[in-house]
Amino acid sequence: MSGSLRHVYGWLLLTPAAILLIAFTHYPTVATLVESLFSRGSAIRPSKFIGAANYEAMLDDPVFWEVLGNNLWFALGTIPTSVALAIAMALLVNRALPGRGFLRLAYFTPTILPMIAVANIWLFFYSPDIGLLDNILGVFGLPGHNWLGDPDTVLGAIIVMTVWKEAGFFMIFYLAALQTLPPELEEAAKLEGASRWYYFRRVVFPLLMPTTLFVLVNAVLNSFKLVDHLFVLTKGGPDNASNLLLYYIYENAFSYFDANYAATLTVVLLVLLAIMALAQFFFLDRRIHYR
């Protein structure tokens, strides 16, 4: 195709998608930055430029720190466990064993359910006294507990549920990776008399490293983006003990109607996501070099 026409056609084909991407990704990113520098407007006092004052207020906001800490604990609680379980699941169902199709299905099914439905099911497990968990404890003569109402257990309860939801999703990537390993490796390990654990630790796990990095990045992203369950389970409570950053942004924007503070918090989330994007870039880069 002739030179200049190529540029015109290229841009014309891109235009419909570009308009929407700019409108709902690039423009709002910039607008969020701008909004975070303005004060909250009201009927009598219009919004005005206040520089970094929103950020100073945020640093003084104990809820902000609590929410950020919760996000950190939530990530630390869900990611290593679900990744370890995902590897275990993939290893278990990677060989011929009775009912393999059903086993894979059982592990993967929570992935296909909406988080809101999962929360509905688990809400009943956790509800005090009448809930399934307390009923099971009761059989063993143990006392019931208000799992979601106690600030000490609420985050743990949500972490367990999230691990259940996510492990099967990560499993499929490990399954795909395991299928690319040559079977001779295991044969050789058997002949050498290596224990299965040794074979896994020294051979399989290092070879799964690229998959683990990919899964880790996804898991970290999910831990910041996934807040649906809070709407059903706790509404961030009790006393913000289970509140996460994106849910706190939602509360500020749509419950307290402070769009400027919500924008300030969104900037923090954007910075965190940018750091992860760079990390992913770095990891993917390394993966190419070392192959």
Binding site: M1, G10, P28, L92, P110, L113, A176, L246, T266
Partner: protein, 278 residues
């Protein structure tokens, strides 16, 4: 030497143990969902009393349907997902075609800017995107729920990869036959990318069927509310709704997707796998 003699035996014992572990884990994993089925199909007094002879009933479903318009919610979700899929296919195909076959000026920068959306998804920017919808007058419309997701960086990325791997000779042959710009796209690139469309389509359907936060913010009437939002406001524990009825409502909401998944497991799992590996 002795290790050689013992190890095959030892491995087989370990394998038996592993099979048992795999089944135990699977039973634990499927139990919450099975429990939801149990609660939904039995009268509420059996919600925590497991008895093989407990009477089966459909009353919980009838009750859930009478308390909230789940059929309407389901219809809304269906319209939303269908509209999104068609729009995504069209927009992403055109953009991916541009990136794959037209080395236009600034295409590298433009592609990098597209990829930003992989990280900054529209629900991160709820505050600003909501004001944009207000200005467009699209609050509380199904179009408004779908609009931010129609140009999907993920779809553009996947299709670009696929189009790039299509042999150039096929395009040249089609041109000799008299195909124009869109003729080549429609007759060569799109048909050869069918597996990518299937994979992307299944991932997109699952994602938007289950999406909650953005639809919650945008919709506020029965006519626009998708299933997830309807379910979210239905199960408020303060209202003291019966567990069995909530379970029935939950199953109603997930049934279409779950059924599709059970029927086409292979395709679903392969699609998720494929879209993750890229």
């Amino acid at each position: 030497m002795s290790s050689l003699a013992i190890s095959p035996n030892r491995w087989s014992i370990v394998e038996a143990l592993e099979t048992a572990a795999a089944w135990l884990l699977a039973i634990i994993w499927i139990a919450p969902l099975l429990y939801a089925f149990w609660a939904a199909f039995h009268p509420s007094e059996y919600a925590v009393h497991f008895n093989l002879f407990a009477p089966l009933t459909l009353d919980n479903f009838r009750e859930a349907l009478s308390q909230a318009p789940f059929l309407r919610y389901g219809f809304n979700t269906f319209i939303l997902v269908t509209m999104l899929l068609v729009a995504q296919f069209v927009l992403c195909t055109l953009a991916a075609y541009a990136f794959a076959r037209f080395e236009f000026r600034g295409s590298n920068i433009a592609f990098a800017l597209v990829l930003v959306q992989l990280m900054i998804t529209p629900e991160i920017l709820i505050v600003e995107n909501y004001s944009t919808l207000v200005e467009l007058g699209l609050v509380d419309t199904i179009t408004g729920i779908g609009l931010p997701y129609m140009a999907s960086a993920f779809g553009i990325f996947l299709l670009r990869q696929t189009f790039k791997s299509t042999p150039k000779e096929l395009e040249d042959a089609a041109r000799l036959e008299g195909c124009g710009l869109f003729g080549v796209l429609w007759r060569v690139y799109v048909p050869l990318a069918r597996p990518t469309y299937l994979a992307y389509g299944l991932v997109s359907i699952s994602h938007h069927w289950n999406n909650f936060l953005w639809p919650l913010i945008v919709s506020n009437s029965v006519e626009t509310r998708p299933l997830t939002v309807g379910l979210g406001i239905f199960g408020a524990p303060e209202s003291g709704v019966d567990w069995s009825i909530i379970s029935a409502a939950t199953l109603l909401s997930v049934a279409p997707l779950l059924l599709a998944f059970l029927l086409f497991q292979r395709q679903f799992i392969q699609s998720f796998m494929y879209s993750g590996i890229k």
